[in-house]
């Protein structure tokens, strides 16, 4: 089945999560092409071509990732190429732009897919619902199918020894909508890895009372482990951490090698975002907190006492 994999980038580099979309697409078809849009894409095209043949629309009109413009180009190219399946990794970019493109292409879309099987030629997709308390199995009616997959659910393929071809495509950019303008991006501050891309995530919950405490304890432990920081929704609501750190149903879905849940009770909304991590360890004052049911290792204790001990232990003192 002719498949296009939309490759997300931040204007200067591909995002590492793209690998999951390529991995998923490859499991289902040999006819997989990467698809990049934007401006000044040369370096990223080369990077993408390590994994699949690439088609690319490189145009100043696409300098900013604005949904109505990008979706129109995605739909135009998908139609021209006769794409039957369009795949991306589930991120806020995909939720905004790829969903709009799906709307232009008929609306047969499944988001946040975590598994699949093919039965009698029919593709069955599994996706979480109800904050991950339920896994639903569904099929899509009609073509093209638009599918976003969770970054943690599929493995990226190994890069090929010789790169695949890069094919520039000209899209009609003179008739793109002009009613949306990107004015500014207030990027994240700080040098820590992104919570969706880190090998270790240290996450803090309600037990932390102030931003300073969070930074000193959760941030301090994260830096000791070269990890990303995350948080539960409670700290976002309380204004203690920015929303970009939120892990859960309404935030980000992560599946690192190690997830350290500090002072997080384990509400189902939070579990939805982290329960597929390889190893989960939790510290919570309440030994009956639900987070322990979803953990491999647990320590009942006060994070204000235990986290400094963890940092000291890791520093060998």
């Amino acid at each position: 089945m002719k498949t296009l994999v939309l490759m997300e980038h931040d204007g200067s580099a591909l995002r590492s999560g793209n690998g999951a979309a390529i991995g998923f697409a490859r499991e289902l078809s040999d006819d997989v092409c990467g698809f990049l849009l934007g401006e000044d894409l040369d370096a990223m095209n080369c990077e993408a071509a390590k994994f699949a043949p690439v088609i690319t629309v490189d145009d100043p009109a696409l300098a900013d990732p604005v949904a109505d413009r990008w979706a129109q180009v995605i739909a135009e190219v998908a139609r021209a190429r006769g794409a039957e399946r369009i795949v991306a990794t589930s991120t806020t970019w995909a939720k905004d732009i790829v969903t709009r493109a799906a709307g232009l292409l008929g609306g047969a879309m499944a988001s946040d897919v975590i598994g699949h099987e093919v039965i009698d030629g029919e593709l069955r997709l599994r996706r979480p619902m109800f904050a991950g308390a339920v896994h639903a199995t569904l099929t899509l009616e009609g073509l093209p199918q638009i599918i976003t997959v969770c970054a943690s659910a599929y493995e990226a393929p190994e890069p090929a020894a010789t790169p695949f071809a890069i094919e520039p495509v000209v899209a009609n950019v003179t008739e793109l909508p002009g009613s949306t303008q990107l004015e500014e991006v207030e990027g994240k501050v700080g040098a820590r890895p992104d919570v969706t891309e880190a090998r270790i995530v240290v996450s803090g919950g309600r037990a932390f009372n102030t931003s300073q405490d969070f930074e000193q304890l959760v941030g301090g432990l994260a830096d000791t482990l070269d990890a990303a920081t995350g948080s539960s929704r409670a700290l976002v609501d309380a204004g203690i951490v920015p929303n970009s750190l939120q892990v859960g149903q309404t935030g980000k879905v992560v599946a690192p090698e190690l997830y350290l849940a500090l002072g997080i009770s384990g509400a189902v909304q939070h579990l939805a975002g982290m329960k597929n991590s390889r190893v989960i360890a939790a510290i919570n004052q309440d030994p009956d907190a639900p987070i322990f049911e979803f953990s491999d290792f647990g320590l009942a204790g006060d994070v204000y006492e235990e986290v400094p001990r963890l940092i000291a232990e890791l520093n060998g003192s």
């Binding site: 099929t139 049911e293 235990e306």
Partner: protein, 251 residues
Amino acid sequence: MKILVPCKRVPDPDQKLRLNAEATDVDSTALTYILNPFDAIAVEEALCIRETTHPDAEIIAVSVAPAEGEDDLRTALAMGADRALLVEHDAQLDSWNVARLLAAVVEREQPALVIMGKQAVDDDANQTGQFLAVQLGWSQATFASQVEFTETGLRVHRETDLGIEIIHVSLPAVVTADLRLNEPRYASLPSILKAKKKPTEYTTAEELGVKPEPRVRLLSMELVHSQRNCEMVTSARELILKLRETEVIKG
């Protein structure tokens, strides 16, 4: 100015779910339902707009639901919406078809702005707002954490993986609400009583001229349980030791 706020009826997330006998849906008989929390944020934002920059704004809450969906529209009315419209529909609908029904309501009501939750906490699809925008040919501003009116449209702060993105969209537009946009008010008892007198209209897909065309066919559901057995340790030192043994922490 008219503001349309789509309101979805969802199971209260703070309850244990069971599936129906065929495992094709959750067992709705024992569930209590609420207004989707993200849609409550959207209602609140519409109220804020009326209270600050647009005192003439008329706020219309619309739901696609079985007859019981009226309860959740009452919540929106009690918060302060002016009137409600229930598109009565019993069967499951995918996001595409909900968007088609909402688009038909938009054609009828001609609002300048649609504000709705970025996702519903039952199917977690995060699609309907984008589908509605594209069906109408309108601009979209998803995952809004701040909305302000300008002379020509809206300036919206969007919550993205890469940080806050500030965009400007002209009207008409669809805005989808993220968590930090505001904190929805609780309806007071007098406003709950007053809401009972506010007008609610009823319609159907047929009346709106929309015949559902499924895009997603739900085959089955399963409940997810934890597979882990938690080993409790008694000290920070022991925890580090265990994590080193599993080789997730090196050195």
